[in-house]
Amino acid sequence: MADRLNVPPAGTAPDTPTPDSHGTSTIRGGTSPHSDSHGISRRGFLSSSALTAGAAGAAGLLAGCASESSGPQAKGTGDAPKEVFTSPAKKLSGSLSILMWSHFVPRHDKWFDKFVADWGKKVGVDVRVDHINTVDVPRRAASEIQAGRGHDLIQHIAPFSQYEPSVLDMTDVVQEANRRWGQQLELCRRSSFNPNTKRFYCYCPGWSPDPGDFRKSMWSKVGMPNGPASWEDLLRGAAEIKRRTGVPCGIGLSPESDSNMAARALLWSYGGAVQDENEKVVLNSDATVAAVEYMTRLFKEAETSEVFSWVPASNNQALIAGKSSYILNSISAWRTAMGANRAIGDDIFFVPALRGPKASLAAQHVIQQWIVPKHAGNPDAAKEFLLHYTANFPAVTYNSELYDLPGWPSLVPQLDGWLDHDPWGAKPANKLSLLKTATSWTANIGYPGPSNPAIGEIFNTNVLPTMFGRAARGQASPKQAVAEAAGRADAIFKNWRGRGLVGG
């Protein structure tokens, strides 16, 4: 899920650390005299890695996606949407503390902090926002919930279903949002609603897609200037690029979030899934074996062992450095590249979910999960703020540079216009227009069922990347690898089913 990569901007002083508004450091690197316009210098790499890994290292975790503030940002050309304010249903007072991630797009946090402070002044609530590295959010949430004290409102960008017993039911907020703005996206509903307990364990107002990112210059050389359209195209084209130029494909197989997303996209496209609609484990199937066989071929013909060592930032770094021809990721790394090195940014293009034998599906890249713990001191203010935040989703989308898309599509009528004519200077201006249909090719990570705690544990303990990886490495046959993974999935589902949080 690592998105934002620091690419040294031309003409800036090298390696100058600049503290950002959250106390993390932004390293502005210079373009090394040894780097070419399409590559990334060793110094640039170290600068970006320093920021990326440094943030994670403090917590002992490596996550390139954490607090990755950028070099120069893209400049908006359109007018920012006007913010709206609706008086709360009841009088609010006291304080409200919010714990949330440091957004991959730094502009968002700058906007958000002012936005929430303005709201607090209007409604008479003293608001405090703590932005932390996104990989630290689950740990912090777990410790606060164990301690029974902490923030009133916590936001994470991956499913938070395991916290259901300790959080407030958000059904009332969702119902109010549905009343105001129409039906919520099914993707967001399935990522926040537990059909077994009939509770909304969190509130999901936004999400981000996970398209394919490719280097046009490389794919043009093999006769596919528009990139691959199917998994077979990917195998054919990426293998040819690797054969001709030595540049491999960048679908990860390591224990990290981007590899997990890619594994699901491939699995679903071949007709496989971890669970069915009724939350029964169906992983051990011919379709899954076929997907694993495909991945084995892709690894052997178009990839290298690099993909086994990747952290979330690695695929971004590789794509921007010209060391990968194709990756699965969101748009933010490209945004940074655009601001830092226009030539690289202009060479990166996107494709929707690749077509497989059975479907064209990708997992969401980010899914907003807002929870109000039972220990929250001011739940009314928390819920009112969420409605205010949702009402202003046009500003959220705009200030995240089109990274955050709305969970209630009617809220952002300008979205298609922005995607057709990027306010942040994409070249061509409609580079992101494929995202207009993103809801049709994006699924929640529990597809075709809901994102339940068992799915969350399977995701966080990397069952699928291990399944694909063991077969690709030749450590197990595709059938054996699938059987092993299915055994683990069965045990995990059984465990959570016993707690009443998973059906089937």
């Binding site: 060793r42 790499f45 170290l46 890695s49 890994a53 440094g54 994670a56 290292g57 403090a58 917590a59 002992g60 975790l61 490596l62 689950p138 740990r139 949430a141 777990a142 919930i145 164990q146 029974g148 395991q162 916290y163 259901e164 017993p165 300790s166 959080v167 197989l253 390591s254 224990p255 990290e256 290298t304 062992s305 690099e306 993909v307 086994f308 060592s309 990747w310 952290v311 690695s314 770094q317 590789a318 060391k323 705690p453 969350g456 544990e457 966080n460 303990t461 990397n462 291990t466 990886g469 063991r470 490495r473 450590q475 092993e484 055994g487 683990r488 045990a491 465990n495 016993g498 707690r499």
Partner: protein, 314 residues
């Protein structure tokens, strides 16, 4: 009734006025406990309580999202033992520990010998040698992560320029080299500690023993294997014990370098406990995995300490 009161005059004992008053600070018993208390409180609060909590969690159904405690007997242990990754992590832990311990002891001894020798710039060398030990483990491991990066590894760059390799090794992307990298970084990190411990043993060897061996015509290697090593063996064993315990319980190096990958080939018990307990959300099973370390560590520590005692007695 007569009230006969007899008032006794205090009798001055010669020398008593000169004896200083005995305060709490002069009582050995009190002082010993006062000195020990911070350590006892520290160990009880930061080791004892979490340990008991881990035992309780291992027999419970506690999750990250549900702190309520329900006793589940040995269910967590059964589930953990049925999981193939657990046994892989156990095997990895033993390989990681034994290989690291052996290397730490060997390099610690070599380094200690260098550090006790007299040469120009000795203090600077000592400072450099101790740096890996004094740097926070997460930061130093991140530095190694860059050194071993799959694309930009300076190690690969040097090897390429020396003509030893053609393409990148991809240290962290292959099971064998990933485990070797994890062991190498752990060895690099803990060798200074072992060196300092062994150095203390080396400087404690009476000079006349060494001199007598020299006069008898013993060369460097003979003195090393027949005088120095036997005399410092208890200290070397302690260095090995420290290294083993610190490696066995460590998750930072494998976690930061590889997150247990590729395909769990560097997952150790501590990291797998973290993945299951915190990231996966099942605190009970995570605690059961973590608790599995305890009897192994206890057995290892007892065995090594007994061996040391036998050596000292001998």
């Amino acid at each position: 009734m007569t009230d006969a009161r007899t008032e006794t005059e205090p009798v001055a004992v010669p020398g008593e006025a000169a004896r200083p008053k005995v305060g709490l600070a002069d009582r050995d018993g009190f002082l010993a406990w006062a000195m020990l208390l911070p350590s006892v409180v520290y160990i009880a609060a930061l080791v004892g309580v979490p340990f008991l909590l881990a035992v309780a969690f291992a027999f419970s159904d506690v999750t990250t999202g549900d702190p309520s405690f329900d006793f589940v007997g040995f269910r967590n242990f059964t589930a953990v033992f049925d999981d193939g990754v657990f046994w892989r992590a156990l095997r990895n832990t033993l390989v990681f520990t034994l290989a690291s311990m052996a290397l730490i002891v060997v390099f610690g001894k070599i380094l200690a010998n260098i550090l006790v020798a007299e040469f120009r710039g000795k203090w600077f060398v000592r400072f450099l040698v101790l740096l890996p030990w004094t740097t926070p483990v997460s930061l130093s491991t991140i530095s190694w992560l860059w050194f071993l990066d799959s694309i930009y590894s300076p190690v690969d760059w040097v090897l390429r320029h020396l003509g030893l390799i053609d393409g990148n090794v991809v240290w962290l992307g292959r099971p064998g080299t990933a485990m070797a990298s994890v062991i190498a970084v752990q060895t690099w990190r803990l060798t200074p500690l072992a060196a300092v411990i062994v150095m203390a043993g080396l400087v404690a060897i009476p000079r006349d023993v060494d001199e007598a061996a020299r006069i008898d015509g013993a060369g460097f290697w003979r003195r090393m294997f027949e005088v120095t090593i036997p005399l410092t063996l208890p200290v070397i064993a302690v260095a090995g014990l420290f290294g083993a315990i610190m490696t066995f319980t460590d998750m930072t190096v494998p976690f930061v370098l590889t997150r247990g990958g590729p395909t769990h080939s560097t997952d150790v018990l501590a990291s797998w406990a973290y993945f299951r307990g915190i990231e996966g959300g099942d605190v009970g099973q995570g605690a059961a995995i973590a608790l599995f370390l305890f009897p192994l560590l206890l057995a290892g520590a007892v065995a090594i300490l007994r061996a040391v005692r036998r050596l000292e007695a001998g």
